[in-house]
């Protein structure tokens, strides 16, 4: 700092300080606070918000759209998606036994949604997911379906329905689901929150061998009446028809079960 610059430097310094302080004074006096008082007031999340990934339901038929193709489990970078399935011998389609997302480790990266070929997964808007017991952070199939109901819509089942070119994260905006759509017309969706100490009913393949015979026909009768009705005429005798569903759980664990891709 030369002598000639002495006054000039001081002047410029003072001027810039005054400019800055004028700006902060204006901010202090004339700008309102942008704070949202969170627990009392909830701000709306933006359309691109990524909350918990949830599963959609086709509200026209009431069926979940997941086909247990395991693409999401493959895509998951932190291996939090667990899918278990068995093959229905009648329709030769995969039946989802367990679809669980461990939200304690999920990083909300949207990869599973991008990987899903059937537009079944969507990043929901729900963000208050904390639990007292960390084990409750594993969201099961029913939880994900229940949370996904508000993003589901009654779709026209066309050949292009599952091959939409629209990016999956836009579906929040495009969802036309109304209050009427989000109603549990089929009776197996949207159950109330689980009570404390609730033990979920075990899936057939997880039951002990002696329990299976009496539990399995009841479940079969409830969920697949038409499949049973079709099977009956094909089978000659009543005993054979009854024995058929019983033989399934014995065969399944060895052949098609245990596709727990991405075990935590």
């Amino acid at each position: 700092m030369g002598v000639t610059n002495f006054v000039g430097e001081a002047w410029r310094t003072g001027k810039s300080i005054v400019t800055g302080m004028k700006i902060t004074f204006q901010e202090m006096m004339f700008r309102p606070a942008i704070t949202v008082f969170y627990p009392d007031v909830r701000d709306e999340v933006p359309p691109w918000f990524r909350g918990i990934p949830v599963l959609k339901t086709d509200l026209r038929t009431g069926e979940y759209k997941c086909t247990s193709c395991l693409q999401c489990a493959q895509a998951c970078p932190v291996n939090v998606i667990t899918i278990e399935w068995h093959q229905d011998p009648e329709t030769k389609k995969k039946v989802n036994d367990r679809f669980a997302i461990d939200m304690s480790r999920c990083m909300l990266c949207n990869f599973c949604v991008e990987a899903c070929p059937f537009d079944s997964l969507v990043m929901g808007y729900d963000y208050e997911l904390s639990k007292v017991d960390p084990e409750n952070l594993v969201f099961e199939f029913e939880d994900l379906l229940r949370l996904g109901l508000k993003y589901s819509k009654a779709e026209d089942p066309g050949p292009k329905a599952s091959r939409s070119t629209t990016p999956p994260w836009v579906f929040h905006e495009l969802t036309n689901a109304t209050e009427d759509d989000i109603q549990d017309v089929h009776g197996y969706l949207g159950r109330p929150p689980l009570p404390k100490g609730y033990q979920p009913e075990l899936k057939p393949q997880f039951r002990k061998q002696e329990e299976a015979p009496e539990a399995k026909p009841a479940a079969e009768a409830a969920t697949k009446p038409e499949a049973k009705a079709e099977a009956k005429p094909a089978a000659e005798s009543e005993a054979k028809a009854e024995a058929k569903p019983e033989s399934k759980p014995a065969a399944e664990p060895g052949s098609t079960d245990g596709e727990g891709a991405g075990q935590p």
Binding site: M1, F6, A10, I17, G20, M21, I23, T24, F25, E27, M28, M29, R31, P32, A33, I34, T35, F37
Partner: protein, 394 residues
């Protein structure tokens, strides 16, 4: 009451009075801490478009009390291998040195804890304890960040102490006394426009900058630069000992602001009607250099209006607190506006700019006073306005 007090033996008077004054200063300091802390958090929030503390009390205004209770009951952690005595007593030395400054602040006419003859030297001396506390904390903590922060803090405080005292010397030259009550009375006689802020504007600005550095406040908070050193000299402190550093910082800030108000803004004399009239009369009179009947009449009326009564004590405390918090506000406003300077920039500013400027201010004040005194009493009937302004330094 007065008779009872006079009937006491002098020793009892000294001790009882001392205890009363010390208690008052302590409570006053804690009150100032609470207000300053809240003000800082609110001002920073408003500048950053936030609302600040909100939940505790109305608009969060009793948050400092909640903070202090929390810090009081908090776990006290002492690291291994600290220099135990230095580590333990450093916060309290800083706290004491901050409170001592309040001892010589005049709240009103004779409303002052200790009217020291060497008030300004006392301030400089007490500030030295703050340097020692900073360095004790840094050295005793056995932590590299603490030591770095303490080194910086000590270098900075010692450098700026010189500048600070030099900037005040102009005021001392004009008042002719180191006693703070004398300085205030001198300003009161001069009236509103004669307050030392106006003739000593260079000294005032230098004093402001130097006291910010002295207080370790942004943009000169190098001793506790959060981004470089974790918290500087109080990295290793927790609980109430950490709170002592915070207490010291804010009490010091308020005390320095009160000293600034005393030295430059007329202390407890407010810009009342009498003060403004007295100032106007003094300007018309050229501060005694060019006495004329109109100016004298205005001056005498103003001085008569601003008499010293008990009511003036309350008004004096009010004005002093108002001016003090103006400076507190200024310091916080600067803190939340300006970025931190580097250590070399700080030293450049202190030694190469502020010290020469304050020395120049001393030279200027002396010269102008000499010229004004030389003109004083000369029979100049046509006193030009410029000549009258010269009387400002009289």
């Amino acid at each position: 009451m007065v008779a009872w007090w006079n009937s006491l033996p002098p020793t009892v008077q000294v001790w009882l009075g001392g205890i009363l004054k010390a208690s008052f200063i302590l409570v006053w300091g804690l009150l100032n801490f609470a207000i300053c802390l809240m003000l800082e958090r609110k001002l920073s929030a408003w500048i950053q478009n936030r609302v600040g503390p909100w939940r505790v009390g109305l608009w969060g205004w009793i948050q400092p009390i909640a903070d202090l209770i929390k810090l009081w009951v908090k776990e006290y952690i002492q690291p291994n291998n600290v220099d135990r005595w230095l580590y333990l007593i450093a916060p309290f030395i800083g706290f004491i040195s901050a409170n001592l400054v309040w001892l010589i602040v005049p709240f009103g006419d004779k409303l002052i804890a200790t009217d020291l003859e060497i008030g300004i030297i006392f301030i400089a001396a007490v500030t030295g304890y703050d340097v020692i506390a900073t360095f004790m904390a840094g050295w005793g903590s056995n932590n590299k960040y603490s030591l770095l922060g303490a080194m910086r803090g000590a270098a900075q405080m010692i450098s700026y102490e010189i500048t600070m005292v030099m900037s005040v010397i102009g005021v001392v030259m004009m008042a002719g006394s180191l006693k703070l009550s004398d300085i205030v009375l001198a300003q009161q006689e001069r009236g509103f426009l004669g307050w030392f802020l106006f003739p000593q504007v260079i000294g005032f600005i230098v004093y402001l900058i130097a006291s910010l550095a002295e207080l370790n406040r942004a943009p000169f908070d190098l001793a506790e630069a959060e981004q470089e050193l974790v918290a500087g000299h109080h990295t290793e402190y927790s609980g109430m000992r950490w709170a002592m550093f915070m207490l010291a910082e804010y009490i010091h800030l308020a005390a320095w602001s009160a000293i600034a108000a005393t030295l430059f803004l007329g202390g407890w004399s407010g810009p009342t009607l009498g003060q403004v009239a007295a100032g106007l009369g003094n300007v018309l009179n050229g501060f005694g250099a060019f006495v004329n009947p109109v100016g004298s009449a205005v001056l005498n009326w103003g001085l008569a209006v601003s008499g010293s009564t008990v009511l003036n004590w309350i008004a004096g405390v009010f004005w002093l607190v108002l001016k003090t918090y103006f400076f507190v506000f200024l310091a916080m406003w600067i803190r939340w506006t300006l970025p931190r300077v580097r250590i070399d920039q700080l030293m450049d500013l202190g030694w190469k700019f502020l010290l020469p400027v304050s020395l120049f201010n001393i030279f200027l004040t002396g010269t102008l006073r000499y010229v004004a005194v030389a003109f004083d009493g000369l029979p100049i009937s046509i006193g030009s306005f410029t000549m009258r302004l010269l009387g400002w330094w009289l």
